[in-house]
């Protein structure tokens, strides 16, 4: 589209305004994290003119931002000490992402390259496992996990998150493999490579961008999942979304702490996204332009 300079400026302006509207709730949430408790409910809402302080963060992470206020390091402790929970979240998200990407890569390579009877139906079946209401999965899982001792373990949560992400991952990755010409496989076949060598040395590296995009989506969905973690964990681990309900207490909600955790929890995921942003955008077409 050819645009005049004025049109470009207008377009950029509108774009900035729209994104600002979307970013605003995040800014608001950040202010809540930095506000003194009292100001959170002040009317009219205080959006900038309050004492920025780190109290909420100090409680949530058990560290003092002493370099700012000349305070000593605080020991962790208390109900709202969330650093280990952030760690739990990262472990769960990273490993469930790894697991689902590995499984889905294998499966979608086969779906893309080998002839399978009723392939369309199989893929639809895979997709349909995502259609189950989470509560319907949670109860049976609870009993399986109980029997296999997976309750309240990292492995258990990682497995169920991997499952949850498989349909999307298979769908995405298959489209990426479909984009890679089959002749590459054939050339390698003639060169003497086995299927697995072709997959590992040739095709998977070529689909790396797509795999990265898939990984980001899996990471996000695992990072934000609530009901499975709630049902399948007890005291040994908890991820951020579930632990955020700890702030809802019988004498009120600790909004500042919740916001501090929310803001802090955005960072790891956002860093992950930034690292692969280019691939993400390409990846999300789901290969659907190829008929």
């Amino acid at each position: 589209m050819i645009m005049t300079p004025t049109q470009r400026i207008v377009r950029a302006l509108i774009a900035w305004v729209v994104v600002a509207i979307f970013a605003f709730p995040i800014y608001f949430w950040i202010t809540v994290a930095f506000k003194p408790e009292r100001d959170i409910f002040a009317l009219p809402p205080k959006l900038a003119s309050f004492d920025w302080n780190f109290a909420s963060f100090q409680e949530v992470f058990g560290i003092s931002f002493g370099f700012i206020e000349g305070l000593e390091v605080l020991p962790g402790g208390g109900n709202f000490y969330m650093l280990p929970r952030l760690y739990d979240s990262i472990i769960v998200a990273v490993f469930s992402t790894l697991l689902s990407v590995v499984i889905a890569t294998l499966a979608s390579y086969a779906l893309s390259r080998m002839r399978i009877r009723g392939q369309h139906h199989f893929v639809f079946f895979v997709l349909s496992t995502r259609m189950m209401p989470p509560v319907a999965v949670a109860i049976p899982m609870f009993f399986i996990y109980k029997n296999f001792g997976l309750l309240d373990t990292y492995i258990g949560v990682i497995l169920v998150h991997a499952l949850m992400n498989l349909p999307l991952a298979v769908l995405l990755l298959k489209s990426f493999f479909d984009d890679i010409p089959a002749e590459i496989d054939e050339a390698a076949l003639i060169d003497g490579a086995s299927r697995f060598t072709i997959f590992r040395k040739i095709v998977a590296p070529m689909a790396m961008g797509g795999i990265a995009a898939t990984a980001v989506l899996c990471f996000i969905f695992s990072w934000t999942e609530f009901l499975f973690v709630l049902t399948l964990t007890q005291t040994s681990l908890k991820t951020v979304p579930v632990v955020s309900s700890t702030f809802v207490t019988s004498t009120g909600t600790a909004w500042g702490n919740m916001a501090a955790l929310g803001v802090a929890a955005m960072l790891p995921a956002f860093i992950f996204i930034l690292l692969v942003q280019r691939n993400l955008v390409r990846g999300l077409t789901l290969g659907s332009l190829k008929q």
Binding site: F41, E59, L74, P75, G78, Y81, T251, G252
Partner: protein, 503 residues
């Protein structure tokens, strides 16, 4: 060590401590090495002043707690065989649980060698956890946090603490004294069908709280009757509204809190949820009078009230936009905390207004006890499926022992003690100061309310569904204007409730 290194090292040590990989003493020793005492850590922090909603600051958690009596020594003695066992508890995020989890637990762990894992969750999620645990007979939790409204549902899955106490004298804490628990509480929150389902653990209860400054300015007195409560609200609203509303509420549709508010007004007008025949009676004359009263009262509440649970209600008072309220006493300390409240030092507390008439227990069903002071107490029960029942029993005794309750109370989460002796403890009385986070100056009102004004919900297995869904959902529709009048609402609820009970 340069200052930066020192901080990093300390943070690391603190982190290990917090994850339970280091006991308290080693932690203190490690801190001392750096020329810091735990006290210094606390004193140096401005956080000490901060103790808002249901939360004990880490700084306070590090203050040395002075355990009087010989309870800890006894624990050390009897706890030996159980060292290394783990006790698990899923609990609502209430003041005693928070105080124990963030401050007191290490002392118990250190004395006994028993590890305590506390899962802190919102009320409805605790119910979910317990349900699964009970249904699967799994015993992942050794201790159940039982809200009084679930008592009937879980009564078969817990061990009667009196039997437990008697059956194994070696584990029976000396001077535990069951009789020290407030009598009304034991009946109201721990007894179902002759079984004691746990020891009284916490007692949030409706008391009357009000803004002294506003009352003084308008020449009002705390209400002694229902009518006065309404007229107080109306007068304030007229004079101060809409900056300051007459009163406020916790009336979120579909939420248990709405049911709590309703029962207070219902009982206050001589009504009851059930009749002696076990049928719903909220639609009788008294019930409708209560609704009429409530409608008038709501005219003096802020607009957001129908979307608020206790959080919104508490905030509305903390922000100074509501001048009087009948609600949970455990709010009071947070309203007195200068960091989280704009009304610090301005509030006062007294007993609820008297009911126009009250039904007796005999005139109601399922052990319902009418009273304006709606209680939301909870007890701590040892699960029948517990993996370490004895260790759990030790913990339960310790958590509800007088000495521990004193510390919980003075740590300042706003809890209502369940023992007579705690109300009289000098350390508790000493904290009855105005405008501090850990104030206890509302406790006399709490105690008096428990004794004379307490209302308890009925106990029946279906109550969890009725009180968490049927009643608050239909009341929510009523307040949302989906019913023509209160009678239709109540008639419909009756139909639903009676249907549920019949099966």
């Amino acid at each position: 060590m340069n200052p930066v290194d020192r901080k990093l090292w300390l943070a690391n040590v603190a982190d290990r401590y917090a994850r339970g990989k280091m006991d308290r003493r080693s932690f203190l020793r490690a801190s001392a090495k750096l020329g810091l005492s735990a006290g210094a850590l606390a004193a140096g922090s401005h956080l000490a002043a901060r103790s808002g909603f249901g939360f004990i600051s880490p700084a306070q958690a590090q203050q040395q707690i002075d355990w009087q009596g010989d309870m800890m020594a006894w624990l050390k003695e009897v706890g030996k065989p159980f060292a290394g066992q783990t006790v698990r508890l899923a609990t609502e995020s209430t003041p005693p649980s928070n105080a124990i989890n963030s401050a007191l637990k290490p002392y118990f762990e250190e004395a006994t060698g028993i590890k305590v894992e506390i899962e802190v969750l919102p009320l409805e999620q605790v119910l979910q956890k317990l349900t699964l645990d009970v249904a699967s007979g799994l015993g992942t939790y050794d201790l159940y946090y039982l809200d009084q409204s679930w008592m009937a549902a879980f009564s078969q899955d817990v061990v009667d603490p009196r039997e437990k106490y008697e059956s194994n004298k070696d584990l029976a804490m000396p001077n535990y004294n069951f009789d020290d628990f407030l009598k009304a509480l034991v009946d109201g929150i721990s007894m179902y069908d002759g079984i004691m389902c746990g020891v009284p653990y916490d007692i949030p209860i409706f008391i009357q709280m009000y803004r002294e400054d506003v009352f003084e300015e308008l020449g009002l007195k705390p209400a002694t009757t229902m009518a006065e409560f309404l007229s107080n609200a109306q007068k304030i609203q007229e004079a101060k509204g809409p900056e300051i509303y007459g009163t406020t509420g916790q009336m979120k549709s579909g939420h248990y809190s709405l049911e709590c508010d309703w029962t207070a007004w219902l009982w206050g007008h001589g009504g009851s949820v059930f009749g002696p025949d076990g049928k719903f009676t909220g639609n009788d004359e008294a019930g409708l009078a209560a609704m009429e009263y409530w409608i008038k009262l709501k005219e003096n509440m802020p607009e957001g009230v129908t979307s608020w649970t206790w959080d919104g209600q508490g905030q509305s008072v903390a922000q100074g936009i509501a001048a009087t309220v009948l609600s949970w006493g455990e709010f009071f300390p947070s309203w007195d905390a200068p960091e989280s409240s704009t009304v610090s030092g301005l509030m006062n507390a007294t007993v609820p207004p008297a009911a126009t008439s009250l039904r007796t227990v005999e005139e109601t069903g399922y052990g319902e006890i009418p009273g304006v002071g709606h209680q939301g107490g909870s007890s701590l029960a040892v699960s029948k499926y517990a993996k370490s029942p004895d260790a759990a029993w030790l913990f339960a005794q310790w958590a509800t022992a007088p000495e521990t309750q004193v510390h919980i109370t003075t740590l300042g989460g706003g809890t209502g003690p369940t023992r007579t002796s705690v109300y009289d403890d000098p350390r508790v009385l000493a904290n009855a100061k105005r405008g501090i986070a850990g104030t206890t100056r509302h406790l006399p009102a709490v105690r008096e309310t428990i004794a004379n004004h307490m209302g308890s919900e009925p106990d029946l297995p279906e109550w969890a569904e009725i009180s968490n869904d049927t009643i608050p959902v239909e009341l929510g529709r009523f307040w949302a204007g989906e019913y023509d009048n209160a009678k239709d609402t109540m008639d419909f609820i009756k139909q639903q409730v009676d249907g549920i009970i019949k099966g």
